[in-house]
């Protein structure tokens, strides 16, 4: 069973909207025909950075990566990840279309000082049907 991401507030956050499944046929004459293959977008992106955090927080993130089988199991994100956004905007980015999140790659940990690190996390939001 997947576990919700730790309740943390990131230092930096970058969100990318998902794309609708379409394919374009372009004729020699230059006209195009677009075909839609579904009515919901997928492939949302979220990059988080937790700057200068203590080892306990780093451990929380690494443990979460492991218990979600390193990108295999999907999970939900707590509202704290989107701290600073309005409720309406959080509704658009936290779980649009009931997507769930997964790790794109393992979290990256950069040591800054004794017991202090910066952790980068890259997540992918996909439709869960």
């Amino acid at each position: 069973m997947s576990q919700t991401f730790p309740t943390l507030k990131p230092s930096q956050r970058q969100f990318t909207l998902g794309a609708f499944p379409t394919k374009v046929y372009r004729s020699l004459a230059g006209t195009t025909v677009k075909r839609s293959y579904g009515n919901k977008p997928s492939g949302f992106g979220l990059t988080l950075e937790f700057s200068n955090v203590g080892d306990a927080i780093v451990l929380q993130i690494l443990n979460h990566y492991n218990v979600t089988n390193g990108g295999f199991s999907r999970f939900a994100l707590p509202s704290s990840i989107f701290a600073g956004m309005s409720a309406a905007l959080i509704a658009q980015v936290q779980a649009p279309y009931n997507i769930r999140w997964e790790y794109v790659s393992a979290p990256s940990v950069q040591s800054v000082y004794n017991g202090i690190s910066t952790v980068s996390v890259e997540l992918l939001g996909e439709l869960d049907v």
Partner: protein
């Protein structure tokens, strides 16, 4: 100039045991009522020929991911042998209305193939042998060659 099309496939399979499976592949995560029946979402794709001039049954392939519903569909359906597929192709619009142009083709199941992440259901078109060149004739070696053991006839 751009044309925008939205096509949904409605998959209605009746196995030899009489069990009916209904899926649609456009409205993600939704159940859609079509012709009075509920179709669940499944991300399948269908490709292949619908008919040919020679009357030899053409093959259609329906590809499902190896998820529980599709594995059950094959295992409980005698490996897709002699199942009956009604595949409806329907044009919808941005609001998801199901009243656009639609075409239904019928196929007979001839088998299935598993691999680690997909399940391929194979069908042959069921109506090809009934055509202008095939009226009220008796099958013989002269006009169809040696009779095959499956549904694939080839006019000589």
């Amino acid at each position: 100039m751009t044309s925008e099309i939205r096509i949904c496939n409605f998959f209605r399979l009746t196995t030899t045991a009489g069990k009916v499976h209904r899926f649609q592949n456009y409205f993600i995560g939704e159940s859609k009522t079509f012709n009075g029946e509920v179709y669940l979402f499944s991300p399948f794709q269908a490709d292949g020929a619908l008919a040919s001039l020679n009357g030899d049954n053409q093959q259609l392939r329906v590809l499902f991911p190896s998820q529980e519903v599709s594995i059950r569909l094959v295992e409980e359906g005698d490996g897709n042998r002699l199942s009956v597929l009604a595949l409806t192709t329907l044009w919808t619009n941005a609001s998801g209305a199901l009243n656009g142009a639609q075409y239904t083709d019928y196929f007979v199941g001839v088998g299935a193939t598993f691999n680690e992440d997909t399940i391929e259901l194979r069908f042959r078109s069921s109506m090809d042998s009934v055509g202008a060149g095939f009226p009220a004739r008796v099958l013989s070696v002269d006009n169809v060659g040696i009779l095959p053991l499956d549904a694939a006839l080839s006019l000589q």
